[in-house]
């Protein structure tokens, strides 16, 4: 696990060596800030529901952009060969990269704490759902990171990795809004697959083991698939 932490530090640091990190964070804050405050004074309610409603959709675009380079770039440059022939296991590499992605999502969420703080100055804010929203945001972010890393391991082209990751995340986000396309028998299963459902449960301030299990399963499936892909490449 010590190796995974070295890899985590390196990957996390690498985000801030290139302008990508700053662009992604700026874009994220711009989009969420705009959509949140545009309707805020019309609704005239002291809560962050609008912000959290939007979060899964924004994440499904932003997170694949964060994770797309994690494997694709290394495979393209060839540095993966150097990395994996040092005394590290496949698991170390996957976990290190995953932690770097999740840490980046956390860093990205920190500036948005200004929203609840400013809202609490304007009215009586219920902090329960806000806490839930941020915990859910991190869980959702972790799940999408795992999916993004899986997409990144598939190809050495970062744009393809981004498109593939975004497609999967977008489907998981939007599937509960397309339920009328599906036969009635499948609705239960598809409803369960929808990331948005689980996220909104937590964002209401209810932390249910089913929702936790859902996000942890997505993380596991994403990272395990990555492992299988990298084994297949040998």
């Amino acid at each position: 696990m010590r190796q995974a932490i070295h890899i985590f530090k390196k990957e996390f640091g690498a985000y801030f060596l290139s302008p990508i990190a700053y662009i992604v964070i700026a874009l994220f804050l711009l989009v969420t800030g705009w959509f949140f405050f545009a309707g805020f004074f019309i609704y005239n309610r002291a809560d962050l529901r609008n912000f959290f409603n939007l979060l899964p959709l924004v994440f499904s675009f932003v997170i694949p952009a964060i994770t797309m380079r994690l494997y694709s770039e290394e495979l393209n440059v060839g540095s993966y060969e150097i990395l994996i022939t040092m005394p590290v296991t496949y698991l170390d590499v996957i976990v290190g990269k995953f932690m770097a992605g999740v840490a980046f999502v956390a860093v990205m969420l920190v500036p948005t704490l200004a929203y609840p703080v400013s809202v609490s100055l304007l009215g009586d804010l219920d902090w329960g759902p806000v806490m839930g929203g941020y915990i859910g945001g991190l869980l959702l972010g972790s799940a999408y990171c795992a999916i993004g890393i899986f997409a990144s391991s598939l190809t050495r082209n970062q744009i393809i990795a981004f498109m593939a990751g975004m497609s999967i995340c977008f489907i998981l986000t939007m599937i509960n809004k397309m339920l009328f396309f599906f036969p009635e028998a499948a609705l239960g299963v598809i409803g369960y697959l929808a990331a948005d459902n689980h996220f909104q449960n937590i964002a209401k301030g209810i932390i249910d083991s089913r929702d936790l299990l859902y996000f942890l399963s997505i993380v596991f499936i994403g990272l395990y698939s990555t492992h299988l892909v990298m084994q297949e490449k040998r």
Binding site: I7, L17, I82, T85, P87, V88
Partner: protein, 301 residues
Amino acid sequence: MIQVENLTKYYGDFCAVDQISFDIHRGEILGLLGPNGAGKTTTLRMLTGYISPTAGDVRVKNYSIDENLLEIKKLIGYLPESAPLYHDMLVYDYLDYVARIRGIAKENKSARIRHLADMCGLNEIMHNVIDELSKGLKQRVGLAHAIMNDPEILILDEPTSGLDPNQIVEIREIIKKIGKEKTVVLSTHILSEVEATCDRIIIIDKGKIVADDSTEAIKQSEGDENFISVSLLNAEFKNVEDALNGIDGIIKIDQIDNGDEGVLTVKLTSRSSLDPRGDIYRRIKETDWVLVEFHRESRTL
């Protein structure tokens, strides 16, 4: 030190390495020689565990590559072809990262990095971004990476390809210095390269071992024939053939080029036991041809 048994690798239907077996002994500098696409890189990648063999086994110091990959990785320092390093890091940061992954203790780390910087000549570029380095400098950083933890085995894939002659000499010196105590395996497609650095040569072609012997032995068996290239002005090929044919040791005369500005180039094949260059020169001197180029061709694969 390293035992390779019936190592085979298929990429789909294409057989890149076909049942090769050899042993590498401690303290040897082994050259893997072969044309492009012979399977050199694939063989080295299997030795390092980067790709897994379709069949066969690699054993390093009684560790099997299937079961104890991590232990083997600790013993091997590896530099892939053209040193694919993280291009956006500073040289110092990169070496520091490698040192931490290689498990160098904190208190020895900066001393070790300084030592490697001296050895590989990196002192001036420690705070440059890797992307901005020339190919030769990158190769040296890669070499420093490979010997970070003083590994018992060093595997280098085409360590001098794409470098200018000065850099080649420098890299060779470093490899020789390391090779005094370590087992070194390197690949190349240039014969003079292995002659200059290696104790032993394995020649592979189309995934099979063609020859495996000490450098001296290979030199003798390979060197049955030498090639001499002569370029002449004012000469006809037929006359040249007549004039040079009688010289002792010359087996064959071929016309290579009757190219620009009347320069005729011929390739002479000679027995290596005799050096006919003196006789050739004397014969040419007797005529009114103008000798513009005269050299022995370096033998490469």
